[in-house]
């Protein structure tokens, strides 16, 4: 199987926040922690665009690179997960992440920062799949139930695509070909690498 990936189709996202609600409900995420958020660019201006953002489970995840206690690991499907028993809540991953995915509960005394929480691609954590211990720390494990992430499955306009990267790319490509616009996939290059990223401009193109 190819890697699990997320894509948000900005042409379709209507900023309903259904994905945010689905995520919070499915995993019983506490107040103040938002594993998924909807971001609107040029809000209020004609042509505004909205995208749903969470952990993108990057191919070369910066959070994994900077974690001083090595609490992150990657599953066979490419889902980036972490072990809350190892996390010390230092917040380095929060600074490294280009998507603002790591969240920190601040319900402790004096607003002390707790252990990091983030999107798990509905794949739980290192505890036994589907166990109560896993649910309390990481939320539901839908992948082990043969399901896809709740946010994408609840998306009413199907703007948020999640699952096998090849299938995601196929679905998105079909849409772009059909409508003839909206090929920009925000975050795709940053998370999964891009052939264009970092390349010098072609000869003759204005710089």
């Amino acid at each position: 199987m190819a890697r699990m990936k997320f894509v948000c189709d900005a042409e379709r996202c209507i900023e309903c926040n259904g994905c945010v609600t689905a995520c919070k409900n499915e995993h019983e995420v506490p107040w103040g922690v938002n594993r998924r958020r909807v971001v609107t660019l040029n809000d209020g201006v004609p042509g505004e665009k909205s995208i749903s953002v969470a952990c993108m489970h990057c191919s070369d995840a910066p959070c994994m690179a900077v974690c001083p206690v090595n609490c992150f690991y990657r599953t066979d499907e490419g889902v980036v997960l972490h072990d809350k028993d190892v996390c010390i809540g230092c917040g380095y991953c929060s600074y490294a992440c280009p998507f603002g995915a790591p969240q920190f509960p601040s319900q402790g005394t004096f607003g002390v920062r707790g252990k990091m929480d983030k999107c798990t691609f509905c794949a739980g954590g290192p505890e036994a799949n589907g166990s109560q211990a896993e649910f309390e720390k990481y939320g539901r494990n839908r992948l082990a139930e043969g399901k896809l992430p709740a946010c994408a499955e609840m998306c009413s306009t199907k703007a948020l695509l999640a699952g096998d990267g090849d299938v995601v790319a196929d679905i998105f490509r079909t849409r772009v070909v059909q409508r003839g616009k909206g090929a920009e996939v925000w975050g795709w290059g940053t998370a999964y690498g891009s052939k264009q990223a970092g390349q010098p401009p072609k000869t003759g193109t204005p710089s």
Partner: protein, 79 residues
């Protein structure tokens, strides 16, 4: 006598300063998703989606792909 008591007390206090050896705890291994959940019987629970058998990796992958096509690809559903 005074010295003995003092040294004994100091020695007893210093035992609290002992440092236990620390090893870096690496993340525990995670069971692959295709093995299913541990709460139900034979890897499946009441919430497990039908169409695959826990432990069958290929079946799990095919089931997820089919679910993805059916739920997210509206072009294949409409045409």
């Amino acid at each position: 006598m005074k010295h003995i008591v003092l040294f004994t007390t100091l020695a007893a206090c210093l035992t609290a300063c002992g440092e236990k050896p620390q090893t870096m705890a690496l993340p525990r291994s995670d069971a692959p998703s295709y093995t299913g959940v541990t709460t139900g019987s034979a890897g499946s629970s009441a919430f497990t989606a039908p169409g695959w058998k826990p432990g069958d990796k290929t079946g799990w992958e095919q089931q997820l792909k089919a679910r993805q096509q059916n739920s997210q690809n509206d072009y294949s559903r409409m045409n």
